[in-house]
Amino acid sequence: MTYIAKPKFQHPGLPRNDLGFTHRDYEGKVSTLCAGCGHDSITASIIEACFELSIEPHRVAKISGIGCSSKTPDYFLGNSHGFNSVHGRMPSVLTGANLANRDLIYLGVSGDGDSASIGFGQFAHSIRRGVNMTYIVENNGVYGLTKGQFSATADRGSKSKKGVMNNDNAIDLVAIALQLGASFVARSFSGDKTQLVPLIAAAIQHKGAAFIDVVSPCVAFNNHAGSTKSFDYVREHNDAVNRLDVITGREPITVDYAPGTVQVVEQHDGTRLALRKIDADYDPHDRVAAMTFLQKHAAKGQIVTGLLYVDPEAEDLHAHLDTVDTPLNQLGEDVLCPGTSALDKINASLR
């Protein structure tokens, strides 16, 4: 597939968004992943979410670590700068990039090996610092590029393709993100685009550390019976707590919801999220309850998906550091260099 160049032709009738862009303007290079890979569905969802939000593609910085998932930023937003950095270190690179220019949108793409094993520390610390980002983990429970070793998110008792049993406990990144204070936490499934696209769109609009764990089956190494990250298993055990609609702008909500089933969440920037409840008792504003809910359902073998927690009043790292509104990378000598008169005073104070 990959040697075929993507045709430049596009249908004149393709739908356009508020900026006049079509989906094609949000695409990247042709994917080099395996046919049917869950990651490609996530790529498609990112493209869809950015299209729907009418984001200028070049105002996004897409940053990843190393691994199959980390290759994907090459396959979407071809007019954005991308950075395929170091294994497990996407969060620090993204943090630095974000500090340098607060005006761009930061999309961090990582995998379960990248974020739950080698980069577990960086994942944790970028979340607890509240970096304004959308952090997506494309979670398949295996190392694909090195041919099928278990990752740290593989469930205990699940079997590898070669029949080896995993005896180690799994790391649930969603649970960790909640505990560390992520202000937007969601889980979804690569095979459920209708659920995933609005979650990505909402995460991008969220001002703070937004984390989405996307279970994304590996068709080559983790899609067999005995795996808990296969398409079949996830479909059977998916327990969605809600469905999300992202409402941009301030126009009234026109979607026709059955009474009592919708909860509208207004975020800091004025965007609104309409949550269609599936589980009537689930409250996405209660961090502690969310953690308990997750644990209970995980014990039953269920994979809880949906918008699990959101803090509409979230603050980000720039607010904590009280940095100027102008991006730091745009400040010049006039602002940054105190000059000779200040230096003379410093010299005098050191005598």
Partner: protein
């Protein structure tokens, strides 16, 4: 045993304070050093401290040197022995004819002293206990009381110390007067009970001039402020933590928006050194000037990212305040031991730019310049400080800045340039200097974006594993490194009074000891031309300096002669011609050591052949 006459010296002696860590002695000792400076007499103080907060021994050494020798001298003329734990060692380190100052409240057996020194007992504990009741006050004022006694013993002007106390406790009247009181308590006791002054005396002079008294870490941090650094990410590690701390305090004073009060900088204490360098690389990739401060173990942890910076060509500045390695080594002792680790950091073929400041003034200049170099060369620049420069107050020429100076932001393609149709290849060598153009993320809607990666790619940043494409890129990186040679600070040469076949190469914190050693060697009849290397890659003058001499000594503070190895390797020099002179016990190199080692080698070279003696 012949009677040793007491050492008699004006403005040229070494006082060492032996204290217990955490006893509050540091500020009193520093006050002593500053007081001598106020007499117009240069001092060179050094902290010798353990990796500990409270309880372990710590020393503070003040070299009083009207001649301005700022390197460590070695030996102690007066020991202020305030730590019973190290008594025996401290006593033994006093030069014959030297002085021992101690707390004589408890009687000590004669066996605990030496016959060849002058013993000065002051009942410090008794004086303090009779004056103060609060235990903390007793401890703190005991330090000021011994300072008062020393003032009398060394014939110092008490008014100058009072003045310093006044500056320190400006607006805190109660603290001010109680400190002055304690000072006189000690001074009066000494004047009434002891022979004052001793043979060691401080006499007013005019040898300090406009020089400033500053730690190298603080100067380097200020260089980062002046150099336009906006992002600092770091992880605490001795001896570099005070550099990041200093950056924070300089920024607090100099970098807040006058209208909004908001910060024109961001400082993040990373979770480790990997995150710190990752943040630096992310910020630099996005067009901000960013740096980290670390030491040896941090350098080891940062290796993978340093390779990325080299290969993907992302600017980064690393201030490496070196300490004795390997492994945890001696965290609070000085060395120049990361030369090879930094020059060739990371796996694969890599080379990095190193800057070697000699003192705080150069630390300031090189730190600021590092940001220009990093952006011009799009690679990591190491500022190679060490504990001796970084954590000690050093008398230094004033810091200088030119208001006309503009930052060199390097080759950055703007939206206008892209709009004009300029060919943008992220790794395309358009000017023949090996340096390509880069774009900042978010520059242009449809032009100039690229995918940054640590994997091989072609001139237009497209992934490629073709051998020829890879080699082409690696060759360009070599060209870029050659370009760097003429951009980095050049070596400084100083020739001997008479033509000589011998030369010496040195760098960094060795400089003051080297300058002093030259004088000692000349007095012994040895003439040496000097070359102080200030950066790697080496300028062509390094090779020609070596070619011009039969033997060149390379003076370093590490075991394996790392700079010498680098010179041999990079310039294809016959190793026999480079004679290593190595000090690596963790104490700063001294003029005595250098002069001794080079002098002995020179004497050997000049031994008269046996047959000539016979004939």
């Amino acid at each position: 045993m012949p009677v040793q006459s007491p050492i008699s010296s004006v403005n040229d002696f070494v006082v060492r304070f032996a204290n217990v860590n955490g006893s509050g002695s540091a500020s009193a000792n520093e006050l002593f050093a500053r007081a001598i400076l106020r007499h117009g007499v240069p001092v060179s103080p050094r902290n010798i401290f353990p990796s500990n907060i409270q309880g372990l021994p710590t020393w503070y050494e003040v070299r009083v040197t009207e001649a301005g020798h700022l390197g460590a001298r070695g030996g102690v003329d007066m020991m202020v022995a305030m730590n019973p734990q190290t008594w025996d060692k401290d006593l033994a380190s006093i030069e014959p004819g030297g002085y021992l100052f101690y707390d004589s409240t408890k009687p000590m057996p004669a066996s605990k002293f030496r016959a060849d020194i002058t013993v000065i007992g002051v009942p410090l504990t008794a004086i303090t206990n009779s004056t103060y009741t609060d235990p903390r006050q007793r401890q703190l004022f005991k330090n000021i009381i011994y300072l008062g006694a020393l003032c009398a013993l060394l014939d110092m002007d008490p008014k100058l110390i009072e003045q310093l106390i006044g500056e320190q406790y400006k607006g805190k009247e109660k603290l001010l007067s109680s400190n002055v009181h304690a000072l006189h308590l000690g001074r009066d006791w000494a004047l009434q009970n002891l022979k004052c002054p001793t043979g060691l005396r401080v006499k007013k002079a005019d040898k300090v001039g406009d020089r400033i008294f500053i730690e190298g870490n603080s100067a380097a941090a200020l260089g980062a402020v002046y150099g336009g650094a906006t992002v600092c990410a770091w992880y605490p590690i001795t001896p570099s933590s005070s550099l990041a701390d200093a950056f924070a305090s300089h920024c607090k004073k100099l970098r807040h928006d006058p209208k909004t009060g908001k910060a024109n900088y961001a400082i993040v204490q990373g979770e480790d050194e990997l995150a710190s360098i990752g943040i630096v690389i992310g910020a630099s990739w996005n067009g901000a000037r960013a740096f980290t401060a670390t030491s040896g173990p941090g350098i080891s942890l940062m290796q993978e990212f340093i390779g990325l910076s080299y290969f993907a060509e992302i600017p980064a500045v690393i201030m490496n305040v070196q300490r004795a390695g390997p492994s945890t080594g001696m965290p609070t002792r000085t060395q120049q031991c990361d030369i090879i680790a930094c020059a060739y950091a990371s796996h694969g073929d890599t080379k990095h730019v190193l800057l070697f400041p000699e003192d705080p003034a150069e630390a300031f200049e090189f730190a600021a310049q590092a940001f220009d170099l990093a952006e011009r060369l799009q690679t990591t620049i190491f500022v190679m400080l060490d504990l001796d420069i970084g954590m000690n107050h050093r008398l230094s020429r004033p810091l200088k800045w030119d208001d006309a100076r503009q930052y060199d932001r390097g080759k950055v393609m703007t939206a206008e340039m892209l709009e004009d149709g300029r060919d943008f290849g992220r790794y395309l060598d358009v000017d023949g200097d090996g340096i390509p153009y880069r774009t900042y993320p978010g520059t242009h809607p449809t032009k100039g974006s690229f995918f940054t990666r640590g994997t091989s790619r072609d001139r237009y940043a497209r992934y490629s594993e073709e051998g020829a494409v890879y080699a082409d890129n690696m060759q360009r990186l070599v060209r870029k490194f050659e370009t760097a040679q003429d951009m980095v600070p050049r070596p400084l040469q100083a020739n001997a009074a008479k033509p000589t076949k011998y030369g010496v190469i040195y760098f960094g914190s060795t400089a003051p000891a080297m300058d002093e050693a030259i004088g000692i060697l000349e007095a012994r009849g040895h003439q040496l031309d000097r070359l102080r290397i200030r950066a790697f890659p080496f300028h062509s003058s390094v090779a020609s300096f070596i070619a011009d001499h039969d033997f060149v000594y390379v003076v370093e503070q590490n075991r394996d002669a790392q700079l010498r190895s680098l010179i041999v390797n990079e310039n294809g020099i016959d190793p026999v011609r480079l004679v290593p002179i190595l000090n690596y016990d963790g104490t700063p190199i001294t003029a005595r050591f250098i002069a001794g080692a080079i002098g002995d080698h020179q004497d050997q070279l000049q031994v008269t052949p046996l047959r000539k003696v016979k004939s």
